[in-house]
Assembly symmetry: C2
Homo-oligomer: 349 residues x 2
């Protein structure tokens, strides 16, 4: 049962079997990137990266831990599973080129449901010019597991790690923060209402933006392109999956630095502020600790300020300091608060 | 509970949290391959393959589907999860160089249990000269899931696909077949006994070889080295994960050919024959349909026969024919039997 469920034909996975299911899924995937030599259908995919460094990242998405089937449309789930991996490649200043997809599903899911997930993955691949080159589809005793590995490319001289931030570097963030977290809270609230009365349609009007940010996030390929066009190579970069506070800790720890962040510089969308008011939450809390925004957090040299300052998609929110391990938020009232890493942890929440 | 369980200290995953667990796991992994530029600790690993083609493959192992915790020691499980991926790279005539590891565990598992799995993966990486460069460790609602992606290299001219078999090519197989399947049957039998009396120690004497083949298989790196030394490039190759019959179907289907296989040429170890007699099973059935042997099945040109014939690790078991889709087993009594693809299917078994 799910909040958004439609009535569809149901074909049992058992009736099709593994090989035929894989044939179904892969029949309309094509290879478009020069680096994709051979895709699905052999023991391995074959790739070619003679002139670039190769980037690799793997993420797991687990039902009941990373997503709730009650309010997650399967096509959005597939889209998001792919996009969050692409985001890891952009966070190295690279471009994603291939993915492999491992999916384990229980027989609670139908063939149509599995195809919905792959349709979302396919849409993400199309939008971001990525080829699906392999994977594994198998059954599970219970629950849905998605494991995606992304392969990308970057010029050796353009690689951006987390550990390169220097004293006085400007701290920048793309887009706006906290929206995905508010989207999740709206869905959790509607789930509670729906559990009381499953015939009631969820009331999501006015929250479209924050819902979209949570259910179907996009990765910031545009930022990587803009930085390249402006000839700016960040000194450090990370994508915001666990929340700004947690990611600032990663950058500062690996760069052996500290930072000052200014509350009045934090970009928060009006829709996020409205939703936060509705829940009686400080929008800054959502921005600092919410997570799942998939914006890019990066640092640049002061000398690159002129190139960056008038780009609407980028906000300068503070600067790096030599006070190793001291991460401060300076509020609108000029009070200094310690930034705690309240990143989401699947083992402790 | 498990047949082989030892009493050990138990640290709850919750008490450590995700970041500390990852620190624990990754602290003693080092990078040894030239192609491994940067490993664990950033959004992506960075690899370098200027002169080679890159091979990529992903496999999922799911508790209750691919392994049974009752009789699977965790260190062996980690070892096997890595090795079966390496096997996919050898099956392309390549060499594995890096892996990423995704593990989802329920809180039924302790920190020590997760470290056992990684210890097995680490041992496999050491034995096969592979670097672990990244991954994801997260919780699950129930069960253990392991997703491994392997990255390997191969010279462009040496890549071997499944689709290159030609008429009259000789069909070769490494090592021997059916042992892993018999090992599984022995463990299933002991599990039933143990369920009746959990204080009874399993009686596995005399079956050490078939048990090792099932619980802790090795991948045939030696075959790839031998073929290179003899200057033989197979015309097609695949590793035997689902059983000889199923893999022959893959080779023949993708090469648009047929084959004749001779029963008296099939390599079966004496220990496999003994175990099969014990279970009143025809060892040829185990060899044809057993699976999980991780031997290499490949075809070579007739003109390479002289180079291959006296290599003890390789058996010539038949030849390719132009009868597309006709796969025949010729028995010792000269009876011709259709080879059916009885590969294991997680959705239908």
């Amino acid at each position: 049962m799910a909040m958004f469920e439609d009535s569809v034909t149901r074909t049992e996975l058992k009736s099709l079997g593994e090989f035929k299911l894989i044939d179904h899924i892969t029949e309309d995937f094509t290879l478009n990137n020069k680096s994709s030599v051979y895709g699905v259908g052999d023991d391995c995919a074959v790739l070619s990266y003679p002139d670039k460094k190769v980037l690799v990242s793997t993420d797991l998405l687990v039902e009941g831990v990373h997503f709730d089937m009650v309010y997650t449309p399967l096509m959005h789930l597939g889209y998001k599973a792919a996009v969050v991996n692409f985001s890891d490649v952009y966070a190295m200043n690279g471009r994603p080129k291939q993915i492999t997809v491992g999916i384990a599903v229980s027989n609670r899911f139908s063939v149509e449901a599995v195809k919905e997930i792959y349709a979302g993955i396919k849409q993400a691949c199309k939008n971001y010019h990525v080829d699906m080159v392999g994977g594994d589809t198998t059954s599970s005793i219970s629950g849905l597991f998605i494991s995606i590995t992304v392969i990308g490319e970057v010029d050796e001289n353009n690689i951006v790690y987390r550990n390169g931030a220097q004293n006085n570097d400007l701290i920048c963030v793309s887009g706006n923060l906290g929206a995905a977290y508010m989207g999740m809270l709206v869905l959790e609230r509607e789930k509670e209402t729906w559990k009381g009365n499953p015939n009631m349609q969820p009331d999501l009007a006015g929250n479209e933006y924050v819902l979209q940010r949570f259910l179907r996030p996009e990765a910031r390929f545009d930022i990587v392109e803009i930085l390249a066009a402006k000839d700016v190579i960040p000194t450090s970069m990370i994508d915001i999956s666990d929340g700004l506070a947690s990611e600032l800790h990663h950058i500062c720890k690996q760069s052996k630095k500290g930072c000052n962040i200014y509350e009045d510089k934090l970009p928060v969308d009006p829709a996020t502020i409205l939703a936060a008011e509705d829940f009686n939450i400080n929008p800054i809390t959502a921005a600092m600790n919410g997570g799942e925004d998939y914006e890019l957090l990066f640092t640049i040299k002061q000398s690159d300020y002129e190139k960056i300052k008038s780009i609407p998609q980028i906000s300068i929110i503070g600067h790096i300091t030599d006070n190793e391990g001291i991460l401060s938020l300076i509020t609108k009232d000029n009070v200094t608060i310690d930034i705690k890493a309240q990143g989401w942890d699947s083992f402790t929440e």
